[in-house]
Amino acid sequence: MKSSDAEGQWRKLAARVSRVINIGWWVEMLAAPVLLAGMLGGCAALWLRHELPLVAGQLGAAAAGLFLLAAAVAWVRARRHFESPGSSLVRLEASMHLSNALSAAAAGVCPWPEPPAHASAGLTWRWPRLLVPPVAALTLLAAGIFLPVSKGGNLPVAPPEPLAWRQIKADITQLDEDKTIDPAYLEEVSKKLEGLRARQPEEWFSHASLEATDQLKQSHQAEANRLETELQRGERALNSLQNQAKAMPEAERARLLNEFDQALEGMREGAMQPNKELLQQLGNLDPAGIPQLNQEQLNQLRENMRKAAGELAKAGGDKAGQNGGGDPSEEWNDELLAGDGKGEGQGQGQGEGQGEGQGNGPGQGGIGRGPGTSPNLLGKNSVDFAAGDAQALQSQDLSRTLPGDLLEIQDGKHDVDQSAAGVRSGGLISGSGSGGDEIWKEPLDPDEQNAVGRFFR
């Protein structure tokens, strides 16, 4: 091999060693800033995500920028430790025990030695020292970026809207899907609801808002109940006219016709009206000529009316009495509030709703409940003792008895062995021990045995 080739190879090797060492310095200088940046970046990411609506990509870009900055600072700090290829050449010859042949060759004193197949400066990476800081920094950053964190107070967080709104909305949606009601009414109610919802969230639970909500709900339920009643009344009249018109007297038939007309008028007068198709069918119907009409069409019409009434009952009718009313047999499991039995779930006439039945218990509250405190709010009322009344108290707590207290009186006899026994003679033990019999009994308990043992010791 030519000397110039050998020199080139050695210098290339030295440059490689130099690069490795310089990277080692850089990584060493980078470790602390990266770790610090990871900690600060992780905390900053958590804080930013809490405060601002940032996405992971933006935070990742910021982290990359932070890393580049730390890398630049580390590079500047590491530069003063950087090793030149000439110094690495000396490191190579020292490591490979070349007796400074490379330095001498570089000075031109002797020829360059032939490079071995595997030249090494004896340097190996310390992987734990190398990897732990960046991995820890990445972990901290990733934790900061990806850990779930709640949104901060600056972000507009909508509070849950009042329950009544959701109920009204659900009713409207259901009625809209069933096509039972005239859409104009549903639009109007929706518009009112949206008007309430358009207010500031802080005002959703204000007194005025809740009152308006209550009003809307009541009117909606009243409309639903009214229309349901009218539909049921019309359907009943129509049913009677269809099935019994021929047999019934004229006065009764006139009354039914009148009732049907009133029901139809009632349907038309209210804000909530049946869908236009049903209303038109009912309007086109001539009650006087019902017996001559197609029975199937009539049945279908009645079925539609029943269905509409059923839907309305679901929408508003069966919710009647929720505020202040309700089934007397409603569940009221708290024993403290159990009172004197069932049937006390009714307000005292000041509650809302259309519940039936009577009772002395409180209602379930509501803004229209009226003034005053709901009775039995905190539990069962105690018995009102008048001053000076004496009443016997019975205590079952025997731990508080005093000497002389009578605890128990019992009738009984002594347990005397009544079996006949004659005179017995003492002396020898008649029985001899057998296997398993107790032949010696320790009269002392363990503490006493220990005391005796200590004494004799």
């Binding site: 490795v20 060492i21 080692g24 310095w25 990584v27 060493e28 470790a31 430790h81 090793e83 110094s87 000396v90 490191r91 020292a94 490591s95 025990h97 007796s99 400074n100 042949a101 330095s103 001498a104 000075a107 004193v109 002797c110 020829p111 004896g122 340097l123 190996t124 990476w125 310390r126 020292r129 190398l130």
Partner: protein
């Protein structure tokens, strides 16, 4: 300066190997000692041999002088030895009818002087010898007389019989290039000595080279290349011997002098020549450093009480001083770490 070429070094190496081979035939089982003596000679240094009597120190010096065909003298140092006894005295002589003081050269006027039991002479005589070692000349009655060239002093001292001795002061010890310890022989070596030697007869030594050849060898050693990094290593090693300059210097009261650094450099070059190299190396310095430094550092009293010796301290010191002053990043592990 024209550095030594590989051809010159190869030829010189042949001579040096022949010399060491001849000396190994004189002194059995002391290869390392002989190598170091030859290195000391090539480095133009004086050598202090310390060892028990009868280990062959005198035989070594005699063999060296015969193989190099150099004039050698032996002086047995005693307390009553005067400086004039070694440097020479003016003697009144009648020349052409006139009486004149004529300088009668002493035993120092030889190429190789064996100063046996140097520590038994008075400080005055020791000083005269040490001055001659440094200046390579003596002055008697105001007249300076150059000593023959080359001039080597190989002194011996007995480490056990200290009664009635005058230990050499550190400043004078510094003039010796090496202090070599002559150790006892192994059983195999003793057997070899018994088989090949007769009491009262000198071993046969063939001349290896003459004085001009030796002179050219010494000149070649000077032309051995000392890389800058090796010079830096020498400087750092010598500096590390001073208290507070390294962790290993704990226990050292006084460190080595700049002369020690020069001695290290010279000896490293000589060792490189012995190994057929045109340049000195870290390994050369590390190999000869104990011989160069062991008599140049003064230990603290506490270190001696603790049982620390010069050898242990020097070993630790050489292990602690890296070949290069460069640091390695902690992310990398070196092979010797």
């Amino acid at each position: 300066m024209q550095y030594a070429t590989e051809t010159e070094v190869a030829a010189a190496g042949q001579h040096v190997r022949s010399l060491t081979k001849a000396l190994n035939g004189v002194l059995f089982g002391q290869e390392s000692l002989i190598d170091q003596v030859v290195i000391g000679i090539l480095a133009r240094g004086h050598i202090l041999l310390e060892g028990l009597p009868g280990l062959g120190k005198t035989e070594l010096v005699k063999g060296l002088s015969r193989s190099l065909q150099l004039d050698s003298k032996r002086v047995q140092f005693t307390p009553d030895l005067l400086p004039g006894d070694i440097t020479g005295n003016p003697v009144l002589q009648e020349i052409d009818g006139r009486r004149e003081f004529v300088f009668q050269p002493g035993p120092l006027f030889a190429n190789i002087v064996l100063a046996d039991e140097i520590n038994r002479a008075s400080p005055k005589t020791q000083s005269a010898l040490l001055e001659a070692m440094q200046e390579r000349r003596v002055t008697v009655l105001g007249k300076t007389h150059d000593l023959p060239r080359p001039f080597f002093v190989l002194a011996t001292q007995n480490p056990i019989e200290l009664e009635g001795t005058y230990p050499l002061p550190e400043a004078q010890l510094d003039r010796f290039l090496f202090k070599l310890e002559v150790t006892r022989n192994s059983v195999e070596t003793l057997e070899r000595i018994v088989n090949h030697r007769e009491l009262g007869t000198d071993p046969e030594v063939h001349p290896i080279m003459d004085q001009p050849a030796l002179e050219s060898l010494l000149e070649l050693v000077r032309r051995i290349y000392l890389p800058e990094v090796v010079a830096n290593y020498i400087a750092r090693v010598v500096d590390a011997t001073h208290p507070g300059q390294s962790a290993a210097s704990r226990g050292i009261r006084y460190g080595a002098s700049p002369r020690a650094a020069l001695s290290l450099a010279s000896a490293a070059k000589a060792r490189a020549l012995m190994h057929d190299r045109t340049h000195a190396s870290f390994e050369d310095v590390k190999a000869i450093a104990p011989a160069v430094l062991r008599h140049r550092i003064v230990l603290e009293y506490n270190a001696r009480i603790e049982g620390l010796g010069t050898a242990e301290i020097l070993t630790a010191l050489l292990d602690s001083v890296p070949f290069q002053a460069l640091n390695t990043p902690r992310t990398l592990k070196t092979a010797d770490a």
